[in-house]
Amino acid sequence: MTITALLFASYADLLQRERVDLTLPVGSTVRDALAQLRALPGGSQLPPSPLVAVNLEYSRADAVLTMGDELAVIPPVAGG
């Protein structure tokens, strides 16, 4: 299955991109998707347990992904 990973701010700088389509086995978790991102150029500098959101909601690393999900990897927020 394919999911979309979004990268922002410092994480987008690390991987030099804001969006990556990932192909994963059915039943993969957020953790599995993060492992794929870490294997990309620059990805090894992502933190061990970044904040993530799946389909606009904060999510845990063991959440199971579904075809077409939008996985956002979220650097420490600094709004306001």
């Binding site: 700088d13 420490p76 600094a78 709004g79």
Partner: protein, 146 residues
């Protein structure tokens, strides 16, 4: 109740007008602005970037929580993104309530939750020409170390 991520200058007076109702005795407006200094470095401007759809959703959730906890629907929040100059407003929160204590508490709740949850990031630009993403957690860790 209304929240928005916008890319134009904020208009505090318009937000105040938007929450005004004659049942309210207290109106509180919070404005966050770009400071000239952060962690001892001279800032010349800030670029705000946002995960738009999720920021909309979190802002709306925060406003709804405040409305429910503090019993007022008169809450309007705007967060600006894009490039901001020194002194420009990045966020404005207007809250009106029958009573002032609840207005203060609701306003404070909204800004603290925004700082914690809304997916917005800022890259500060310094007088020496460098720029850097702000990481509030890095600051917190540094402070907690001896």
């Amino acid at each position: 109740m209304r929240v928005a991520i916008v890319s134009r200058p904020l208009d505090p007076a318009a937000l105040i007008a938007e929450v005004a109702r004659s049942a309210n005795g207290a109106t509180l407006l919070f404005i966050g602005t770009v400071r000239e200094q952060n962690d001892g470095r001279d800032v010349t401007g800030i670029e705000y970037v946002v995960y738009g759809p999720m920021a909309d959703r979190e802002l709306a959730a925060i406003a709804a929580e405040a409305a429910s906890q503090f019993s007022t629907d008169d809450i309007v929040v705007e967060h600006r993104v894009g490039h901001l100059q020194l002194g420009e407003a990045s966020v404005a929160i207007a809250v009106a309530h029958a009573r002032r204590a609840a207005a203060y508490d609701a306003s404070r709740y909204v800004i603290e939750q925004i700082k914690r949850r809304v997916p917005v990031w800022k890259r500060e630009e310094y007088t020496d020409g460098t720029r850097e993403w702000v990481d509030p957690t890095a600051g917190a860790l540094a402070v907690s170390q001896p």
